[in-house]
């Protein structure tokens, strides 16, 4: 659609509409590791998106407005191509299948399986057990003193197993020499572990090496919790 306006001032309604319809929207919280994964992927796929904060700390995800967007009341949610997508790994696979930009899965089936194994080890093996709702349940039902040891237990268990696996297969990246969704899931998990749960990764040298290298990459930096519109000052 040709625009007949120029410069500042009110934009014609139809131009605003077309921008709104074509620009993907990401519902995210700055420190949510699942949101962080998707932000990294959007950067590698060179997708410009609108960032909409869902303040998990104040329970904004439980409000009716957000429930209409995602009945599961979780972030991230990505609205793209006319669809509303939820659950970060599913979103990563969708982006991989539909968007150009750097490939995030290898072509060979066995390597793809390895990338997905590592991804699963993080996405189902570690993160769910440190989820806020799980922590809350523990604090309420078992006592607040159990919450922190609980998360540390599962993170350390998950990292110790992951370390063995990565030690066998990682080179510059989690799987050999190609960046993949495994790397996109590793960095947020490690950041979370260190920042929120006081977990040290010095017992996991491969994880530490990969983390330190990956977090220097611009697409990871732009997606970092410290650099989001809702990052606390």
């Amino acid at each position: 659609t040709q625009s007949t306006w120029g410069g500042r001032g009110e934009q014609p309604h139809f131009v605003s509409l077309s921008l709104t319809m074509s620009t993907p929207i990401l519902y995210s919280y700055y420190i949510s590791s699942c949101s962080f994964r998707v932000r990294i992927a959007l950067n590698f796929k060179k997708i410009k998106y609108q960032y909409r904060t869902v303040d998990l700390r104040s329970g904004e995800n439980y409000k009716d407005d957000f429930k209409k967007i995602n009945p599961l009341q979780q972030v991230p949610v990505l609205q793209i191509d006319g669809h509303t997508l939820t659950n970060s790994w599913s979103i990563l696979e969708y982006l991989e299948e539909t968007q150009s930009g750097l490939p995030l899965l290898p072509k060979e089936p066995e390597k793809r399986a390895l990338v997905r194994s590592i991804t699963d080890a993080i996405v189902s093996g570690i993160q769910p057990l440190q989820n806020v709702i799980v922590q809350k349940y523990i604090a309420v039902n078992f006592g607040a003193e159990h919450a922190s040891p609980w998360t540390q237990h599962w993170i350390h268990l998950g990292f110790s197993k992951l370390e063995i696996l990565l030690n066998n297969v990682a080179r510059d990246y989690c799987v050999g020499d190609e960046l993949s969704i495994a790397d996109l899931c590793l960095v947020p998990q490690v950041y979370n572990a260190m920042k929120r749960f006081d977990v040290s990764i010095d017992k996991y040298p491969t994880i530490e090496r990969l983390y330190n290298k990956l977090r220097e990459i611009p697409e990871f930096i732009e997606a970092h919790p410290d650099n989001q519109p809702d990052t606390p000052k």
Partner: protein, 222 residues
């Protein structure tokens, strides 16, 4: 490289193993079943012998026709779907539908099962010193997840979880319902899950994959 018969390391009632068994039976893949007893001697999956095959020390583990080990059920099933394209594919052609299938797999595979699996239950009993907490905990998290799943199925289910073809989502649903019944979850509260589970369990591949049909099922359960 010689083509070998694939191997599945499995425990009869491990729901993650059950998912993979369903996929293998749908694809009519002949495989060798190697039983790993998760209860005996503290768990055979924790022994060094198994740990060398799978450092994650979990089930299932799939050894493909090239002898390559693949762990984690969703990774295994995606591999199986990519490698064995007959008789049906387990992901739709449409990319949005594929995302819904994976969403369901994630809601079950990350949102429910990891929080109620055996090692977590054992840990809950240990820290609370209350053996009854195991059932209460498992039931709670399954029900939380089923509430979410009903909402997704309301929008997307047809004959099966997503539309009218079998998908990975169905491979994930049935084992989770099997777990749910073990922990006294009232399925009447989740009518779509119940209906889908009932239809799916009638399908031959699902019957063949059922825990009661596995070589390592204890005699008293058969």
């Amino acid at each position: 490289m010689s083509k070998n018969k694939p191997i599945l390391y499995s425990y009869y009632r491990s729901s993650c193993s059950y998912r993979v068994r369903i996929a293998l039976h749908i694809k009519e893949v002949q495989y060798e079943y190697r039983a790993v007893n998760m209860l005996k001697d503290g768990g055979e999956h924790y022994k060094e012998e198994y740990g060398e095959l799978n450092p994650m020390k979990q089930l299932p583990l799939f050894i493909d026709h090239n002898g390559e080990p693949i762990s984690q059920s969703l990774a295994i099933i995606e591999y199986i779907d990519e490698t064995y394209r007959q008789p049906i594919k387990l992901l739709p052609e449409d990319t949005h539908q594929r995302a819904i299938v994976r969403q369901i797999a994630e809601v079950i595979g990350s949102g429910i099962q990891p929080i109620q699996n055996l090692k977590v239950l054992r840990h809950v009993v240990k820290i609370t010193e209350n053996p009854e907490m195991k059932d209460e905990w498992a039931k709670f998290w399954i029900e939380e997840g089923f509430v979410a799943l009903e909402k997704i199925l309301e929008r997307h289910a047809g004959t099966y979880c997503v539309g009218n073809s079998l998908t990975i989502a169905d491979c994930f649903l049935v084992p989770q319902v099997y777990n749910a019944t073990r922990y006294s979850v009232d399925l009447d509260k989740y009518p779509r899950i119940q209906r889908l589970n009932n239809s799916l369990c009638e399908i031959q591949a699902f019957k063949e994959a059922h825990p009661s049909q596995q070589p390592d099922v204890p005699k008293e359960i058969k």
